[in-house]
C-alpha cells in the first residue's frame, strides 16, 4: 500500500493530476532560478546576433526589453496563473479552451516544435564543447562527428535529470543559475575591457535596411516572438509553485530580464567582434582557463533549458493515452529520440534558427491571446476540475465532439493575419508592420475574434460551462 501510494504520488508530480497546495515545491526564488536557467542559453546570443544586422546596442536594448516585456506579460498571465491556481499542467487546463479532445491539437503542434528546440539547444551545446576541445587540443576543424557526439551527450545528461523529476531540476538550476548570472556579468566585463564601452555603444548594425525605423521594428518583432515562444512550457512548470505571485513574477526576472541581458551580450559581441557565438570569443578574450570555465557554464546553460523544456513537454504528452500509461523514464527517453535524430543534421538546425524563431511567433502569440481571453474574460478565472477530467460528452468542456471549433478556427485564421504584416522567412513586410508589428495584430485579432464568436456561438447556447458557479451536477461547487 505504501509502495502504491508512493508511485501514485510520483504520478501526481509527473502526470496529469492536480498538484495539491501541500505538494508545491517551488517558492518564488526556486522558480526564479529555474526561470533564469531556462532563459540563459545560447538562444539569447543567437537572437542578439540576428538583431545585430538591424540595430545598434542602444536600440537593440529598447527593442529587447520592450518586446520581451510586452509578450511575456500576456503569455505568463495566460499560462502560469491558471496552472498555479489549480495545480494543473497547461495542456490539461487547455481542455477548458479547446475541448477535452481539442487540447490535443495544441499539444501536437507544440510537441513538434519542442523536439526542434531540444535539438537546437543540443547542437549549441555541441558547438560549445567542440570549441573547448579545439582550444585545449590546438586542433581546429574537428568536424561534425564531434559536434554530434557532444550534442548527444547533452541529450543524455538532460534525460537523466528530467527522469528524476522536478526536485532534481530545481536543485540543478539552483546550482547553475547563479553561475550563469555571474558568467553573463563576466562576459560583459570582458567585452567592455577589450572592445571598450564606447566602441560597443557606437558600433553600427551590420547590414541594416535603408529605413531605420523598419530595422527597429524587426528587432522588436523578433523579441515579441521570443517572449511568446515560452508559451508551451511555462504552465507545466508553474503548477509546482506555491502561489500566483511565485508563478508570475519570476518570469519577469528570468525569461525577461535575464534573457535581455543574454541577448545584449550576443548583440554587443556580434556588433564588435563579428560573431554572436561566445564559444568563439570567450577563450581569446578570457584566456584558456577562465575562457574554458565560462564556456562550460554556457554549455550547461543549454542543458538547464533542455531540462525544463523536456519536463514540461513530457508532462503534456500524458494527455495521449499511450503516454499516460508509460513509465516516466521511458516517456522522457521517447521524447528525446526525435531530437537525437535531428542533431545528425546540425548545420540545418543552426543556420535556420532565425526563421524557426519567427515561425514560432506566428502561432504562440494567438494561442496566448485566446487562452488569456477565455480564462480571464469569459471564465473569470474559474475552472471546473470535474469537467476538465471528464472526457465524456457529459463534460461541460466537451463542446462539439470534444472540440471547441471556435477556438480552433480563431487560432487557425490568426496565422494568415500574421502574414498580412510580415513574412517570417524573408522578412518582407507590408506598410502597417512598421507601426503595428505582426505578432501584436495577429494576437489581438485572435483575442477579439475568439471573444466575439464565443459569445455568439458558444455562450449563447450554454456550451462550455461558462455560467458562474455552474459545475455540471453540483451547482454550488464552482472551484474558484
Amino acid at each position: 500500500m505504501g509502495e502504491t501510494n508512493t508511485s501514485v504520488n510520483r504520478e501526481a508530480i509527473f502526470g496529469l493530476l492536480p498538484v495539491l497546495p501541500s505538494e508545491r515545491t517551488w517558492n518564488f526564488w526556486d522558480f526564479a532560478s529555474v526561470n533564469v536557467g531556462l532563459a540563459i542559453a545560447t538562444w539569447c546570443f543567437l537572437i542578439g546576433g540576428t538583431m545585430s544586422f538591424f540595430v545598434d546596442l542602444k536600440m537593440g536594448f529598447v527593442a529587447a526589453l520592450a518586446g520581451n516585456t510586452t509578450a511575456i506579460l500576456i503569455m505568463a498571465a495566460a499560462t502560469t496563473l491558471p496552472s498555479a491556481r489549480y495545480g494543473l499542467d497547461q495542456y490539461t487546463s487547455l481542455r477548458s479552451v479547446f475541448g477535452v479532445q481539442g487540447s490535443k491539437f495544441a499539444l501536437l503542434m507544440m510537441v513538434f516544435v519542442e523536439f526542434l528546440w531540444c535539438a537546437v539547444l543540443s547542437v549549441m551545446f555541441g558547438r560549445a564543447m567542440q570549441n573547448i576541445y579545439e582550444n585545449f587540443s590546438g586542433k581546429s576543424g574537428s568536424g561534425v562527428v564531434l559536434l554530434i557526439a557532444f550534442a548527444i551527450v547533452a541529450i543524455l545528461i538532460s534525460w537523466l535529470v528530467v527522469w528524476k523529476g522536478p526536485v532534481t531540476i530545481r536543485i540543478f538550476n539552483l546550482i547553475v543559475a547563479p553561475g550563469l548570472g555571474l558568467m553573463m556579468l563576466v562576459m560583459a566585463y570582458l567585452l567592455v575591457r577589450d572592445v571598450g564601452f564606447s566602441g560597443i555603444w557606437i558600433a553600427p548594425p551590420l547590414d541594416p535596411a535603408p529605413d531605420a525605423w523598419w530595422n527597429f521594428m524587426i528587432a522588436f518583432e523578433l523579441n515579441l516572438g521570443a517572449g511568446f515562444s515560452w508559451w508551451p512550457i511555462m504552465g507545466g512548470l508553474a503548477r509546482l509553485t506555491r502561489g500566483e505571485r511565485s508563478a508570475f513574477w519570476p518570469n519577469m526576472l528570468g525569461i525577461n530580464l535575464a534573457a535581455v541581458v543574454g541577448t545584449m551580450i550576443g548583440l554587443a559581441s556580434a556588433l564588435t567582434i563579428g560573431t554572436d557565438d561566445p564559444t568563439e570569443w570567450m577563450v581569446p578574450l578570457g584566456g584558456p582557463v577562465f575562457g574554458v570555465l565560462a564556456l562550460l557554464f554556457v554549455a550547461f546553460a543549454n542543458i538547464t533549458s533542455i531540462m525544463s523544456l523536456a519536463y514540461s513537454t513530457c508532462l503534456a504528452l500524458k494527455q495521449v493515452r499511450t503516454f499516460l500509461l508509460m513509465d516516466w523514464g521511458k516517456l522522457t527517453a521517447t521524447f528525446f529520440i526525435p531530437a537525437v535524430i535531428i542533431v545528425f543534421f546540425p548545420y540545418a538546425v543552426y543556420d535556420n534558427f532565425g526563421s524557426f524563431l519567427a515561425i514560432c511567433a506566428t502561432f504562440y502569440g494567438p494561442l496566448s491571446g485566446i487562452y488569456f481571453v477565455d480564462y480571464f474574460l469569459l471564465r473569470r478565472q474559474k475552472l471546473n476540475l470535474r469537467h476538465i477530467y471528464n472526457m465524456s460528452p457529459a463534460s461541460g468542456y466537451y463542446y462539439w465532439g470534444g472540440v471547441n471549433w471556435v477556438a480552433v478556427a480563431s487560432f487557425v485564421t490568426s496565422i494568415p493575419v500574421y502574414y498580412l504584416f510580415l513574412d517570417p522567412i524573408s522578412f518582407a513586410s507590408t506598410t502597417p508592420f512598421v507601426w503595428l508589428t505582426a505578432s501584436l495584430p495577429s494576437t489581438i485579432y485572435a483575442m477579439v475574434i475568439y471573444y466575439v464568436l464565443m459569445k455568439w456561438l458558444v455562450l449563447s447556447k450554454n456550451l462550455g460551462a461558462y455560467e458562474t458557479g455552474s459545475v455540471g451536477s453540483r451547482t454550488e461547487k464552482a472551484v474558484p
Binding site: A12, L20, V62, L73, R85, F216, G243, F248, A394
Partner: protein
C-alpha cells in the same frame, strides 16, 4: 459512492488507481476552497496594476524611441 465518483468514474481515461487518487485530490480541492486560497494566494490588485503599468511602459518605450531617435 460519492457524487464525484458517480460523475467521473470510468470517464477520465485513467487507470482505476490513478482515478481514485484524482477523486481524492478533487475532493480536497473542492472542500477546502478557502484554505486553498490562503495557501495558493492569488495575485493582488497591486500585482495587476504593476503588470498593466509595465505593459504600458513597454509600448510607450517604443513610441518614445520613434519620437526621440528616428
Amino acid at each position: 459512492m460519492s457524487s464525484l465518483e458517480l460523475e467521473l468514474s470510468g470517464k477520465t481515461g485513467m487507470d482505476q488507481e490513478v482515478e481514485q487518487e484524482l477523486f481524492r485530490r478533487i475532493a480536497i480541492l473542492e472542500e477546502n476552497t478557502a484554505e486553498r486560497e490562503k495557501e495558493i494566494e492569488p495575485l493582488k490588485k497591486c500585482d495587476w496594476i504593476l503588470a498593466a503599468v509595465l505593459f504600458a511602459c513597454s509600448i510607450l518605450l517604443v513610441i518614445l524611441s520613434n519620437i526621440i531617435f528616428y
